[in-house]
Amino acid sequence: MLGYILRRCLAVIPVMLLVAVFVFLLLRLTPGDPAAIIAGDMATPAQLERIREAMGLNQPLHIQFVTWVGRLLQGDLGVSLISNTPVSAMIADRVGPTFSIAILTIIISVVLAVPMGVLAAWKHRSGADYAVMTFSVLGFSVPVFVVGYLFILVFSLQLGWFPVQGYTPLAQGLGAFLSNAILPALTLSTIYVALIARMTRANMLEVLGEDYIRTARAKGAPERTVLFRHALRNAAVPILTVIGTGFALLIGGVVVTETVFNIPGIGRLTVDAILARDYPVIQAMILLTSFLYVLVNLLIDLSYSLFDPRIRY
């Protein structure tokens, strides 16, 4: 098991190296002079030369790559071309909101979706099942920004329960954080509730047909025990995969929600950087999100063996 974890961790290195090469070449292989792209249309030749010098663009490609990776390893992600602040500091500022909302979203999704999926599977083809499936289709098909504005309209403007927009860090108290974060998290969770509920239902349906469920009933176990002790853990692995992938997607794909609710997260940082052609920031964001994907997938794989003793590495 320990050997397996070590091997899986080592396997992260080549993957990340490949991403690094891609990110590095992204800029270098774009047609034209990277310095000109970075500097924009209005740059003077002197400015261009300064940028080339600063980025080491006058050196051979492989030297540039090694230098760049060397800096990355020291945590130096470069300096923003727009604000002239270190990229790492910019990201550090923005990571908090995105992460806390992503975690809140996943918690809400799991708490709602898993019981919904279990109920739908248990009462297969009943009203409850159809209700869950209908909600699930809605959750998939209504766009995030529509849900977001709808929630603002109902909960903020009409009922006045939550502020319309903005973000309060968790450090300023759970209540303050939640009152701002709950609507964006609910908005984001519609699609994940839909996804996880469907996944739970499908896997529970399969597991509920297994012989050991019949055994559990033959032992006189009440339905609650049958569902949660015997069935759910057996259905856990695919559900876990969806939850993990969902979390990774949340980190990279929260642009719309952050815009709708005016949250200073990394989604908006990325969009702003792309619009302003702030290449160092874009590069750092690609690296960061890829690393998160790899890390989350690794954690999911390792967690399988917690739920299923047959999976041992």
């Binding site: 012989d211 009933r217 033959a218 032992k219 025990t225 853990r233 003793p309 047959r310």
Partner: protein
């Protein structure tokens, strides 16, 4: 010979009267069980026999109150020690399950929860039904595990199901069922998935526990051999009805119902048929075949498993070679090596004079046609989304036959295997198990093979269907001179179809010879153990009498 215990004076444990179960949502309110009357007394073993679809499992699930949602009890009563179970609420039924009526199932592989330790699964029964403190629950769980003769109880207590053998898992199931000393044990085909030697042990165990605790046993089986071994009373079921019942001796000696006679006559005899004359044109010769798994590893050598050790045999045109042995004996490994579905580690496989053991995928292609296979499970060996015609003609099309010719041949083969022409346009789920196995055989024969490998090809079928499929294989062999490698764990089947037999144990051939010699006068201790474990071996089912005494050859 048979059990002759008399239970007439013992108190009745379970009595069903006029038990009727229907499918309410079908047109005509289809009856799955029609007025079933079964009586089981204290420490009596009642066998419920019948073929698949006869309603024996539905009967047991109705007693447990565990019928699938589509089925409803439409009439009758189920009395447990004089108390009618049908009016009871779900909660009241739950209290009875495992405490008063316990059940064990066919597949010990799937009947235990794979993610919970087996000790916890046994203790769960006590958690659900008693207020015993944890320490006492544990003590009782360990005690019942010892009673079912599990070795190394402390280790097994902490094990997960996948770490145990099939026999051990079934023992866990039995321990779980009996830990609260129920008055009735329902055993639904509990030994069908086990090897004969394990089966014998499990049957002996149930018998022993029954004598110690006076448990009444309702034993559901399709295997007449098992019936002869364990039954006090037998009920024969057919399409939801009981066609006959009586003490085991009377039922096997003088069956009254025609259906019972048919069922008994279909039981393959253990006395081998005479071998056909030996031909000298060998189509398949296997020499010193070895298959070793594992042993890889970069830093240190991983443990090896020698799945086939120096296996060798010769098979000539039109003859059948049986490979018999228990699970893990290596018989399927040999079959897969011959088919080149897996690569042998060493040895030669001479097919029509050329060695195919080491050929590459591409070089193997022209030879593939000559070797065809029929697998055990006809439910899963046909593509469910393809019509029968599509499955049948795929092989010939791959080898350049025109579509029209392939379809014509498929149509002709439908006659040969006894299926209607319109079967070609239908899908696998529209056929019964026996019909699907005929289709699987037709698919193999479409390729005009020299050698047909049948891997447990009749093991999943009812005896009457089994007999028909064996007949079909016999007829194809006669007409087309196909050589058959027949892999089976069932000595009765082997005795009926094989000219020669090899007996395998732990990857090695322990005995090889004509079936009439190996099965009638086994020389090796393992072969003898296998034959001794075959249930009902001393009864001649077809002729309703004891087996004539065969002179047993002394071991060489």
């Amino acid at each position: 010979m048979f059990k002759t215990r008399n239970h007439n004076d013992a108190p009745v444990v379970l009595q069903t009267s006029g038990l009727t179960v229907s499918l309410p949502e079908t047109p005509g309110n289809l009856k799955v069980l029609k007025s079933i009357d079964v009586t089981i007394r204290h420490s009596e073993t009642v066998c419920l026999v019948g073929e698949s679809g006869s309603g024996k499992s539905v009967t047991s699930l109705a007693i447990m109150g565990l019928l699938p949602q589509a089925l409803k009890v439409a009439g009758g009563s189920i009395q447990l020690q004089g108390r009618d179970l049908l009016p009871l609420s779900q909660a009241q039924m739950r209290d009875l399950r495992a405490a008063r009526v316990a059940m064990i199932f066919q597949e010990p592989m799937t009947a235990l929860n794979p993610v919970l330790r087996v000790g916890d699964q046994i203790m769960e029964v006590m958690e659900l039904h008693t207020d015993l403190p944890a320490a006492e629950r544990r003590r009782r769980a360990v005690a019942i595990m010892e009673q079912v003769h599990l070795p190394d109880v402390d280790r097994i207590f902490r094990s997960y199901p996948h770490q145990l053998s099939g026999g051990q898992r079934q023992r866990i199931m039995i321990a779980m069922a009996l830990v609260l000393e129920p008055v009735l044990l329902i055993a639904d085909e509990p030994t069908t998935a086990l090897d004969v030697t394990t089966q014998k042990q499990i049957l002996a165990l149930i018998d022993e526990l029954q004598q110690n605790h006076g448990t009444a046993v309702l034993f559901i089986t399709h295997d007449m051999g098992v019936v002869a071994e364990i039954a006090d009373t037998v009920y024969v079921m057919k399409r939801g009805e009981i066609v006959e019942h009586g003490p085991v001796d009377a039922l096997l000696r003088q069956p009254r119902a025609e259906y019972t006679r048919q069922l008994l006559k279909a039981v393959p005899s253990l006395s081998p048929r005479p071998a056909r004359p030996e031909a000298d044109d060998a189509v398949l010769r296997v020499e010193r075949l070895n298959k070793i798994y594992g042993g890889g590893g970069i830093l240190r050598k991983l443990p090896q498993a020698h799945a086939a050790k120096d296996v060798g045999f010769t098979l000539s045109r039109g003859r059948t070679l049986g490979i018999v042995g228990e699970s893990g004996s290596g018989k399927s490994t040999v079959a897969r090596c011959i088919m080149r579905l897996i690569d042998p580690s060493s040895g030669r496989i001479m097919l029509d004079g050329s060695d195919i053991a080491g050929l590459s995928r591409a070089a193997l292609r022209p030879h593939r046609k000559k070797l065809q296979v029929v697998f055990q499970d006809p439910m899963r060996s046909l593509n469910p989304r393809w019509t029968i015609a599509a499955s049948l003609i795929e092989g010939p099309l791959n080898y350049g036959t025109s579509r029209a010719d392939a379809l014509a041949e498929a149509a002709r083969l439908m006659d040969v295997v006894g299926l209607p022409q319109d079967a070609l346009g239908r899908y696998p789920h529209q056929f019964s198990g026996g019909q699907r196995q005929r289709i699987a055989i037709a698919r193999a024969v479409m390729m005009r093979p020299d050698v047909l490998v049948a891997d447990e090809a009749v093991s999943a079928l009812d005896v009457s269907v089994q007999a028909q499929v064996l007949d079909l294989l016999h007829q194809l062999q006669r007409d087309l001179e196909i050589a058959i490698v027949f892999i089976t764990h069932d000595l009765r089947v082997a005795a009926q179809i094989c000219d020669d037999v090899i007996v395998m144990q732990r990857g090695a051939v322990v005995e090889h010879g004509p079936a009439s010699e190996v099965l009638a006068a086994p020389a090796h201790a393992y072969t003898r153990a296998l034959i001794d474990a075959a249930p009902g071996r001393s009864w001649d089912f077809q002729n309703f009498r004891e087996m004539p005494k065969v002179p047993h050859a002394e071991p060489a």
